[in-house]
Symmetry: C2
Subunit: 324 residues, 2 copies
């Protein structure tokens, strides 16, 4: 059995995962506090997310995937803010200190930490139910962060990638849908456990964006957050919404659209920009090789309104995921 | 039933608890990330701690006390680093969104947040077992943080306050000891749920200190951390250790000493300093009205050795608390 300090040393304080001393990281793992020296002209962006076993992932899932997902969903918040990831902290409680589970979990964290240059600088491990809390920290030029409150009537609404895949993936993971071939299964598995935080896109888009958020609760709910923070409304043109092709294969058109609009967990970027920036944004889409679709326009109202091809208003049963 | 967003608005985004916009806090609760602007010449100290129901506190405990304890034990890490508290984040999972419980919990957080000028800037709330993770953030002049690795042979070893009270309190809370009068019960209750983070002492002592830590795992274990980080040993003069008077009333002399040396959770500051600073430290003790005792000397060895009044070596069954 590993002791608390053995776990930290062997599993977490390993090359490629824990932060070496740098200009930014003055002290990392192993002291009462970690110490960061933030460069002049930069602000520190930080975000915390918690994943609970059998709420946010099946407790039987591969530990490497749980680790990868825990860090990726947090990085998505930095992407939505247009911040460059730098370091993270980890709070984990778990029923027993199984060395194999812990090494695999740390390996999953490491794969994402090294991909996005976001090293571990500290945290907490103790006995308890399997709950994982990650706080990510990123840097953004002073005054340049993307916030939710900057959208104005007339701004165009954009979304990266396609939507609904994570919703379908969740149904597959929970065993509510089957009959997929091996390739589809691998894809759904990755859609759920390895969401790609749109870090590069967030950084590149930031100069053109008036407001932004990541699609975690669901497109409608998250657009609602932008509307509420910005004191504006929004009108979505439903045929313009990029519904994932994997949904249209398996679900009716109506079901697929509803899933794309409300299922959440896709971790795509949803953002607004002045219409004159549309061309620059579409050029970035090609350059980054990230699909970006214009799906509507901000209005002077206060609600999110969805219209079909004929201009008829369509409503959905629920906006998105709520924890309570 | 409160929704996730109602909980945040009503319980957590309240005056005295959540951070207003300041020179430091550019964005607080309610966006994908919080944004901090760290003043030039300062480093950011950060520390994360997790409290699990029925591991770190009884789940039936008053929610205000759970909130107060969750923030206080984290602030103690800033005290040990000589950092001034500024903001914190909160990750909480709980089985159901009981408004009364949540308001009382937030009230407990608020009492400590306002006392130590440490405001809430964000976090996460979701359904799950009752687990509370807090990350505190503080400021320290660049290069002036107290670390564990600065002790040298010949340094004197000091500790604030008295030790063992939280160990006794835990036995009382768990129902393993009874027969206390009302005054004693109130005192033990507070010792466990309202540990006082030694923020003012940490800030005032920092210029004189070579290494420091807070007593969370137990005096022997925590001194061991300083020894390991500093590459040194330590010798403790047991009669000089300030054993809480509440222990000596209830336990044999030997039991009381063992509890003071190993029980942890006292959140006193344990630190080392060059002998020439002893007078300044004792002057600060008077000025701050915080008892400070010199309990030993750092050595060129690698172990922590304890000696009684006759100079005989005494060993203890265990060093301190380990989570696994």
């Amino acid at each position: 059995m590993l002791s608390e300090f053995d776990i930290i040393r062997q599993c977490f304080d390993q090359k490629g995962l824990s932060a070496p001393e740098t200009e930014l990281v003055k002290t990392g793992i192993g002291d009462d506090c970690a110490l960061l020296s933030i460069p002049t002209g930069k602000e520190l962006a930080l975000s915390m997310d918690t994943l609970v076993a059998d709420v946010h992932f099946p407790s039987s899932a591969e530990p490497a995937l749980i680790g990868a997902r825990a860090l990726s969903v947090n990085l998505s918040d930095l992407a939505a803010t247009g911040a460059e990831p730098c370091v993270f902290t980890l709070g984990i409680t778990l029923p027993e200190a199984d060395p194999d589970w812990l090494m695999a979990f740390a390996g999953g964290l490491k794969s994402i930490a090294s991909r996005y240059n976001c090293a571990l600088i500290g945290g907490n491990i103790s006995r308890g139910p399997l709950v994982i809390t990650v706080q990510v920290h990123g840097l953004v030029e002073t005054g340049n962060a993307i916030l939710r409150n900057g959208a104005s009537p007339g701004d165009k609404i954009f979304v990266t990638g396609s939507l609904g895949q994570a919703g379908l993936a969740l149904k597959y993971i929970l065993g509510e849908l089957d009959g997929f071939n091996a390739e589809e299964e691998a894809l759904l598995h990755n859609a759920y456990f390895k969401p790609v935080p749109r870090i590069e896109a967030g950084l590149a888009l930031a100069p053109f964006v008036s407001a932004g958020i990541d699609v975690s609760d669901g497109l409608l709910a998250d657009l609602g957050h932008i509307c509420q923070s910005s004191g504006a409304g929004a009108q979505i043109t439903l045929p313009a919404v990029p519904v994932s092709a994997h949904l249209t294969h398996r679900l009716s058109e109506q079901e697929a659209l509803a899933m794309a609009m409300t299922a959440g967990d896709d971790y795509e970027l949803l953002f607004t920009a002045r219409p004159e920036h549309e061309q620059s944004i579409m050029a970035l889409s090609l350059q980054l090789d990230v699909p970006i679709h214009c799906i509507g326009t901000m209005t002077s109202g206060s609600q999110v309104i969805c219209k079909d091809a004929q201009g008829a208003e369509i409503s959905f049963e629920k906006d998105g995921y709520q924890h309570f």
